[in-house]
């Protein structure tokens, strides 16, 4: 595999995520097979591939939600195991795909964001004033200042996504996992959320792994890219090198051409 040589060359100490021949499954269904991958601290890794490629599974291996059946994973320098998975999760922010929320659910936007810090706080501790203030700051940052008291189920898709991002940031994570953060949003909301994510990644010096189908925005936000297909990692490398028409066409089994518009690559499919 292309990635094997690269992994060996990298410095271990700067590695935030290291997967060594990891196979993961849901029940009896193997969703990700023999993936070896190294993500440096500060990297912004875009993960692309067709539906069912194992992209979400890759993210959930990192935060210990997926069942690893062989291989091993090291997260933030520690081997991931049942013993330390809860401790590691406290350092990993996770923005899952947009989920349906019961409009009557008894939680408002502010409380939903606050859930992000509950793991770190631990049992028997009240939320300190500093974190309450930080929640308000984050709500402002994601553009939801006015909606703190609104029931979560009343928000639009884009607003719910912003809540999930604010929640993950309140956690003060070292690693941020984003699963299709822009799916089912309109163009404007997609653009705003991507700009927000990129800004936060840079400002907070995060290590970010993002699954997406939005190929056009990737080269601008990612430093590295990973291609997945059929549960396997088929290519991983610099984002600038990822945009090859033939490579993308092979990945998606459909013709993809790369054009140039004002100096930026644009994918036509």
């Amino acid at each position: 595999m292309h990635t094997g040589g690269q992994v060996k060359q990298r410095e271990y100490g700067r590695t935030a995520v290291f997967l060594n021949s990891v196979t993961a499954a849901y029940g009896r269904h193997v969703a990700m097979e023999n993936v070896t991958l190294s993500v440096h601290r500060g990297d912004f890794l875009g993960i692309i591939g067709p539906n069912g490629a194992g992209k979400t599974t890759l993210l959930t291996v990192v935060n210990g939600l997926a069942k690893v059946i062989s291989g091993n994973a090291q997260i933030l320098g520690e081997p991931l195991s049942r013993k330390n998975v809860n401790a590691l999760r406290k350092k990993i922010g996770y923005v899952p795909q947009i989920q349906e929320i019961d409009p009557l659910l008894p939680i408002n936007v502010r409380d939903s964001v606050l859930v992000g810090c509950y793991g770190r706080l631990g049992f028997f501790r009240r939320v300190p004033k500093a974190l309450l203030e930080k929640t308000e700051t984050l709500l402002g940052l994601v553009g939801l200042s006015r909606l703190g008291d609104r029931p979560l189920g009343h928000l639009s898709g884009g607003e719910k996504q912003r809540v999930a991002i604010a929640r993950a940031l309140l956690q003060e994570p070292e690693i941020l996992l984003l699963d299709e953060p822009c799916a089912s949003l309109d163009w404007k909301a997609q653009k705003e959320i991507l700009v927000l994510i990129q800004e936060l990644h840079n400002r907070l010096r995060l290590t970010t792994l993002m699954v997406t189908h939005d190929l056009n925005s990737l080269p601008q936000v990612c430093t590295r890219m990973a291609f997945m297909k059929g549960g396997r990692l088929i290519w991983e490398g610099e984002a600038a090198q990822a945009l090859s028409g033939s490579r993308l066409s092979e990945l998606y089994d459909t013709g993809i051409t790369i054009a140039s518009h004002e100096g930026k690559p644009v994918l036509l499919y």
Binding site: N86, K90, L105, V115, E159, Q171
Partner: protein, 281 residues
């Protein structure tokens, strides 16, 4: 006519039982309704009921066997509800009917008078003893203390189960803790409310409270308030009309849910005004 009923000691005890049972059942009801695990709740409460009858049949402490049965049911159906990838309705439904079948089997096998068994069926709030009240008070106190101590974790698991897990909250431990509390509450309330009726006291006040607030704290408060009010109201109605108290409590709680669902301020809020104009996409 009304004040005179409080002169009877059995009525005073019945109102005390209504306060404690109504409060604890409707508080655990909030857990069940918010997590949308009603079938799991039905299964666990009927397991407790079958367990109590099993205890009576073998001349064991029926409270202990009720609690053990409800714990076993929680251990069996909990993992089914825990897996997000398939709906547990069918398997939990099968277990529920099996529990009811066992309850009828145990009562059929009982020799002699079946008065205490029938008390567990229909509930016998007018014959509760000081011991029953003490157990109810202890369980209600434990329930409230645990909820206050772990409120933020309970809120996270109730509203954001998968998020709770991902941020490092031991969500499964909190979830099973709540199922155990459900089992304990059912056990303590079996005598006063009855195995066939207890589930309506768990689910109806919570469902009614769900119609009036978006705040989890207020949801617990209103649910407990409604639970106590329907118990007391049911007792009064049963006294005045001379009808069975359990039936009066259940039907009153059903009327309350129906009325609040029809006139839900939450639904009216959703149809008029601020939610629609403020939503942007």
């Amino acid at each position: 006519m009304i004040p005179e009923i409080f002169q009877y000691e059995f009525m005073q005890k019945a109102f005390a039982a209504g306060l404690l049972s109504g409060m604890s059942c409707s508080v655990v009801g909030v857990l069940v309704v918010t997590m949308r695990i009603s079938t799991v709740g039905i299964c666990i409460s009927h397991a407790g009921f079958a367990g109590a009858l099993f205890g009576l049949l073998l001349d064991l402490n029926y409270l202990a066997t009720a609690f053990v049965f409800s714990l076993v049911a929680a251990a069996v159906v909990g993992p089914l509800a825990d897996r997000a990838e398939f709906a547990p309705e069918t398997s939990v439904g099968i277990l529920f009917s099996a529990m009811l079948g066992l309850a009828f089997l145990f009562i059929g096998l009982m020799p002699g008078s079946r008065t205490s068994a029938l008390d567990l069926f229909w509930g016998s709030i007018l014959t509760v003893t000081r011991g029953d009240l003490l157990l109810l008070a202890i369980i209600a106190a434990i329930l409230l203390i645990l909820l206050l101590m772990f409120f933020k974790e309970v809120q996270a698991v109730l509203c954001h189960r998968s998020v709770a897990l991902a941020v490092g909250i031991p969500a499964s431990a909190v979830f099973y803790g709540m199922l155990i509390l459900l089992g304990a509450t059912v056990t303590a309330s079996l005598k006063s409310v009855g195995g066939l009726l207890i589930y309506s006291l768990i689910i109806n006040p919570a469902a009614a409270a769900y119609q009036v607030t978006y705040s989890l704290r207020k949801l617990f408060f209103f649910s407990a308030l409604f639970g106590v009010l329907v118990c007391w109201g049911g007792l009064l109605i049963s006294y005045v009309l001379d009808i069975p108290s359990g039936a009066a409590i259940v039907l009153l709680s059903t009327l309350l849910v129906a009325a609040l669902t029809l006139y839900s301020p939450k639904k009216r809020g959703a149809m008029t005004g601020w939610t629609r104009t403020d939503q942007r996409d």
